[in-house]
């Protein structure tokens, strides 16, 4: 049998792009959806890593060293920052109506300073930059630091676009969408961060049951807010099939149901067994990688949904 490796987590990027590709088959998203999917995955894992740090705070012997934790956050933060930069340029070019290659610096500044959505993306970008810098400094100093600043900045950066997007036109829409995004990010990101950081059977035994509790709450929030959002946005049941937006919503719902099935299966087998130290670290890693890659596909579809009309 193949031995699971941490770097297989990178397959999640392929999963996310697959999700976007599915989105392109079903609807007509913006070109920025490709970058948005990668940005979402990186950002969620940053938030998840901060959540791991927060969960482990207070443990007498933390399972993850601060050095490893902050290296992961800073590296992913850099990836996120790069993806976000490209995304801003793509969005600006779509808004201004000029091809990406010809977009001038002055027009970009106009977009970032003048248009409502441009300002929000600029704020999100600054949050990502702050979060990455904080993590890099924390890594260099090598001391144990509170992850709260990362939780706050990463959370804000993640919800910035959704709260000003589609749902902002409905009453309470922004609030529901913010909850949806943060819950989905924690569900995906925390497991991805655990897979990237945990090394031993004992570490999985302590952290996985904690994650499982968190994940259950996140799934409930994701499902409820997602359904409310979809019902508010779509006029009728037939819109689920006749409009591109509806088809993407339907795809997300079906994939979510599949993920729920997988999660339920893990909760019956893997989680109690790992909690009782009966699962080897490699097997836990393999299970986590499978789950993360499966979730990344839904993130791709979500990115396509958020950028299609």
């Amino acid at each position: 049998m193949l031995v699971a490796r941490r770097r297989w987590l990178l397959v999640a990027a392929v999963g996310a792009l697959t999700g976007v590709a599915a989105g392109w088959l079903l609807a007509a998203p913006d070109p920025s959806s490709w970058v948005r999917a990668l940005s979402l995955c990186a950002g969620s894992t940053v938030l998840g890593a901060a959540a791991v740090a927060a969960m482990m705070r207070g443990d007498r012997r933390p399972d993850v060293s601060p050095t490893d934790l902050w290296r992961l956050v800073a590296a992913l933060g850099g990836l996120w920052l790069s993806a976000d930069t490209v995304q801003i340029v793509l969005e600006a070019s779509a808004s201004v109506g000029e091809p990406v290659g010809a977009l001038g610096a002055r027009r970009l500044v106009d977009y970032l300073g003048g248009v409502g959505t441009g300002r929000i993306t600029a704020v999100a970008w600054l949050c990502v930059a702050a979060c990455t810098t904080f993590a890099a400094v924390a890594h260099r100093s090598g001391t144990d630091r509170s992850a709260a600043p990362v939780l706050v900045t990463a959370g804000l950066a993640l919800i910035a676009r959704p709260v000003t997007g589609h749902m902002s036109q409905q009453p309470l829409g922004s609030l529901l969408d913010a909850a949806h995004v943060v819950a989905a990010a924690l569900w995906f990101g925390t497991l991805a961060a655990l897979a990237a950081l945990l090394r031993s059977r004992g570490a999985w035994a302590r952290q996985l049951p904690r994650y499982s509790t968190l994940a259950l709450r996140c799934v409930a929030v994701v499902a409820v807010t997602g359904v409310v959002d979809a019902a508010v946005r779509l006029g009728s049941m037939s819109d689920l099939v006749t409009t591109g937006y509806g088809r993407l919503v339907l795809t997300k719902a079906v994939l979510l149901a599949a993920l729920l099935g997988l999660a339920l299966w893990w909760r019956r087998g893997w989680v109690p067994a790992a909690g009782a130290h009966r699962v080897r670290a490699e097997v836990s890693l393999r299970n986590a990688v499978i789950e993360v890659c499966a979730m990344s596909v839904v993130f791709g579809v979500a990115a396509a949904l958020a950028t299609s009309a």
């Binding site: 610096a105 990455t132 409905q170």
Partner: protein, 172 residues
């Protein structure tokens, strides 16, 4: 779990029944001249009205005649849900295309075209030939500053280098 699914399904059905139609983005609800209208004389302005207030930045509205020339004059004006552009008379008989491009309140750009037909030749003077695409907006290129693309590439390289420096393993 079953209870959760039941609750979610019930919620969905209830909301489907109660929620009214929700417009996704800015959509044209009317225009002057109307889409497909036949007119004998050029109006002073061509205007489009949307279902919601528009963002004034980067809005574009052009009128291109059957001769392929631009017949709209000056920059479009956005007032609440209405965008309009001036005309200085129209020329040849035939179909005129009104091309628009605006930003919805949720940030998504929306573009499209409407047409009207001139039935009696006018005496206006045409503008420049419209370049290929419908949304040949303000063509003041060269005034936009250097292309952003290079800054993005440079920025990504700087971020990568800085992180590599910050995260490298200490030489032990």
């Amino acid at each position: 779990m079953t209870r959760l699914i039941t609750v979610v399904t019930a919620l969905f059905v209830a909301l489907m029944m109660s929620a009214g139609p929700a417009a996704a983005h800015s959509a044209v609800i009317g225009s002057s001249p109307d889409d497909g209208e036949r007119i004998a004389q050029a109006p002073d302005r061509v205007s489009l009205t949307f279902n919601e207030a528009l963002q004034p930045q980067f809005a574009a509205l052009t009128v291109v005649g059957p001769d392929g020339n631009l017949w709209s004059v000056g920059d479009p004006v956005v007032e609440g849900p209405t965008i309009s552009v001036g005309l200085d008379g129209l020329g040849p008989v035939g179909e005129y295309t009104v091309a628009y491009r605006v930003t919805s309140a949720d940030g998504h750009p929306v573009s499209g075209t409407r047409v009207f037909t001139l039935t009696e030749e006018g005496t206006g003077t045409p503008g420049a030939p419209a370049a290929g695409s419908g949304d040949a907006a303000a063509d003041d290129a060269g005034n936009d500053g250097p292309a952003v693309w290079w800054f993005v590439v440079a920025g990504v390289v700087v971020v990568a280098a800085a992180l590599w420096f910050a995260l490298r393993k200490p030489k032990a």
